[in-house]
């Protein structure tokens, strides 16, 4: 599998509000949303970025699409460095990558009909006008809205959440992108329609050979849609491997706690206490050492001194823990 996206040493820091003392000392504290990510995504791969809120998964997704500039590190897309992209090359890049948004209720201009919303990317990319109807029709079929004419004249507020998210997906697919990032695409939808969107995404990956990064806090959803799972914790990757493997044999203590915490819609679920301590208070990442050590039941002296590197334990299955 040829690599399509290669991120190395990726960091993104955001300035945070300074206290008076920090201002006086001339300190500029930052929050390290993404703090050293090395990730290679092969062409056609589906990768789930899994983590709790504030772990940097959304920022990582935005970095991969050049929607925000990294503080450090590089991202190569199809061999070219994203930092160098400008002009025509940037325009081409924008055609090849797409983002699916979390909130479908706000992802389409309320003054646009479905038709205009679908046509806009084609116009922007300079696709000849004659091709528009066919391309739009294909995209709508891909997201299983085959009754194309019935939707074109409608405005976003006239559609249900499920229909709207399909339109958003169709809009992302209308340019036949190679790489797509979906940020919690079903978290704002009702349970009964989520499955429909997830199935569409699975089909799209299969039929279009699309490379995809799927950002979610929901382990079960990531497992369902993605072949590979990357677990993030406070800006760092802690585990990376085939989804089935990660679920069945989690290596990192954090992943283990996650696997156990995921609720299931059955009554006979485990009620054992989670193998995790305390709770994440104010999500402060410590500098140096393992970030999970405060909550880790197995933490020992080395965890505070030395940051554990990602280590390959089984083929394609890596984790960052001193205990491995």
């Amino acid at each position: 599998m040829a690599p399509l996206v290669v991120a190395s040493g990726l960091e993104k820091h955001f300035p945070v509000t300074r206290r008076l003392g920090e201002v006086l000392r001339g300190e500029r504290p930052v929050s390290r949303a993404v703090d050293g990510i090395d990730l290679t995504i092969g062409e056609g791969e589906t990768v789930g970025l899994l983590g709790e809120s504030g772990c940097g998964k959304t920022t990582t997704g935005r970095l991969l699409l050049k929607l925000t500039r990294p503080t450090a590190g590089t991202i190569r897309f199809d061999g070219g460095d994203l930092a160098d992209l400008a002009g025509a090359a940037l325009k081409r890049f924008r055609r090849e990558v797409q983002l699916v948004f979390q909130n479908p209720f706000d992802a389409i201009n309320p003054r646009f009909t479905v038709f205009r919303a679908l046509r806009e990317p084609l116009q922007n990319a300079g696709v000849p006008k004659e091709e528009h109807p066919e391309r739009m029709r294909v995209a709508m079929h891909r997201v299983r809205l085959p009754d194309v004419e019935g939707y074109y004249d409608r405005y976003p507020h006239q559609l249900s959440g499920g229909q709207l998210q399909r339109v958003v997906l169709a809009r992302a697919l209308v340019l036949e992108p190679r790489f797509i990032v979906a940020d919690e695409p079903v978290s704002m939808l009702d349970v009964s329609v989520r499955a429909g969107i997830l199935n569409v995404m699975r089909d799209v990956h299969a039929t279009m050979g699309l490379t995809a990064v799927y950002i979610s806090h929901d382990f079960a959803l990531v497992r369902y849609v993605c072949a590979r799972t990357v677990v993030m914790y406070l800006g760092k990757m802690v585990e990376d491997g085939p989804s089935a493997e990660v679920v069945a044999r989690p290596l990192h203590p954090y992943t283990r706690a996650l696997v156990q915490a995921v609720p299931v819609p059955r009554v006979d679920q485990s009620r054992e206490p989670l193998p995790i301590k305390g709770s994440l208070s104010a999500a402060q990442a410590q500098v140096g050492g393992c970030r999970f050590r405060d909550r880790c039941p197995y933490a020992f002296a080395r965890c505070a001194d030395e940051e554990p590197p990602m280590r390959e334990v089984a083929p394609g299955h890596r984790a960052a823990c001193h205990l491995l």
Binding site: S192, N199, P263, P265, V267, A282
Partner: protein, 335 residues
């Protein structure tokens, strides 16, 4: 013995387009010392129901019928003043946005003590002591009472909200999506604390959520709502294990399972009916794969099905076969 008995509750909203029937004849019981999970999708009326019980409704809402029997008294017959005195003392509410309901400019302890003094009639000293006690009870360090809300994580704020709700030892607690905005690990920890407290204090709880797995984890009984109606209710294990209503069957299959195989999920196509002009017959008929012409003529009543469960479906006698069919993805696909 029921703490609360909801009987044929009807709540209507005035909207620009007409009157929306948000809750349509909902009935269920909350047994003493049990957790009743009310589960349903957005717009099914579960939040409206909760607000009707605590008597806090927007001006556009009107209770059009039914009774809310709480310890032998119909809450709907009480004056706003009487209701206000019962709220929080007898019936406590943890709203969906409880996490954000703390005032950012005051210390959490100050805010808690203030409420205890104002509403609980305690003196300042007793209030401070009680606040520390409550914090301890929900697993928060009482030392954190001196902190400001922004120094709390989401899970901590939710615990604080629970502590505040339990402050006056209410008989009934209504929690509206108490863990929805939290991360899974925190969610689980908060639910564990909540469950433990509920058992220890013998609280009766109405747990409102869209997440069937939260219900499965934390509730003894479940009430499934759809389009303002209760369409199935009973013991959690029964309802989720052997659903009798096709909607419940679909809902149980609509979730991916972490350890499940790679089978395809089953979406329920379509969307709920417009509550301004709800259908004459079964409100789920348009999305139901097992619909028959008769389903559209009259609303099916809740009928006894098995071991105390109730379901509002004409075809409950065939539930055994329907459940098998509902497990197949093809059943739910629209042609």
């Amino acid at each position: 013995m029921s703490v609360l008995s909801v009987q044929d509750l009807e709540v209507y909203y005035k909207t620009d387009r007409g009157v929306a029937q948000a809750v349509r004849g909902a009935s269920f019981e909350v047994p003493e010392g049990q957790v009743v999970g009310v589960v349903g999708e957005s717009g099914c009326g579960k939040t409206t129901l909760a607000r009707a019980i605590i008597g806090v409704m927007p001006k556009t809402a009107r209770i059009a019928g039914g009774r809310l029997m709480f310890q032998g008294v119909d809450l709907l017959g009480l004056s706003p003043r009487e209701m206000a005195s019962r709220r929080w003392r007898d019936i406590a509410f943890i709203p969906q946005s409880a996490m954000n309901s703390l005032d950012p400019v005051y210390r959490v302890g100050t805010q808690m003590a203030e409420v205890l003094v104002e509403r609980g009639g305690m003196d300042k000293r007793a209030a401070r002591r009680r606040a520390a006690e409550l914090f301890d009870m929900v697993g928060l360090d009482p030392g954190r009472l001196r902190d400001f809300p922004h120094q709390y994580s989401g899970g901590m704020r939710q615990r604080a909200a629970i502590a505040l709700a339990l402050a006056l030892e209410p008989r009934l607690v209504i929690a509206d999506e108490p863990v929805t905005a939290l991360d899974v690990i925190i969610q689980r920890q908060v639910l564990d604390t909540f469950k433990e407290l509920q058992g220890r204090l013998g609280l009766s709880v109405i747990l409102i959520t869209h997440d069937i797995s939260v219900v499965a984890y934390a509730s003894d009984r479940v009430v499934v709502m759809y389009a303002g109606e209760v369409i199935e209710s009973g013991a959690t294990a029964e309802v989720l294990g052997r659903p009798f209503h096709p909607y419940t069957m679909g809902l149980c299959k609509a979730f991916p399972e972490l350890h499940g195989g790679g089978g395809t999920l089953v979406p329920i196509e379509g969307s709920p009916p417009d509550l301004i002009a709800p259908p004459e017959g079964c409100s789920f008929a348009d999305r139901c794969p097992f619909v028959e012409p008769e389903c559209r003529t009259a609303r099916p009543p809740l009928v006894d099905v098995a071991s105390g469960s109730l379901a509002a479906c004409r075809r409950t006698s065939e539930a055994e076969e329907l459940r098998v069919l509902a497990g197949e993805a093809g059943t739910w696909l629209r042609s």
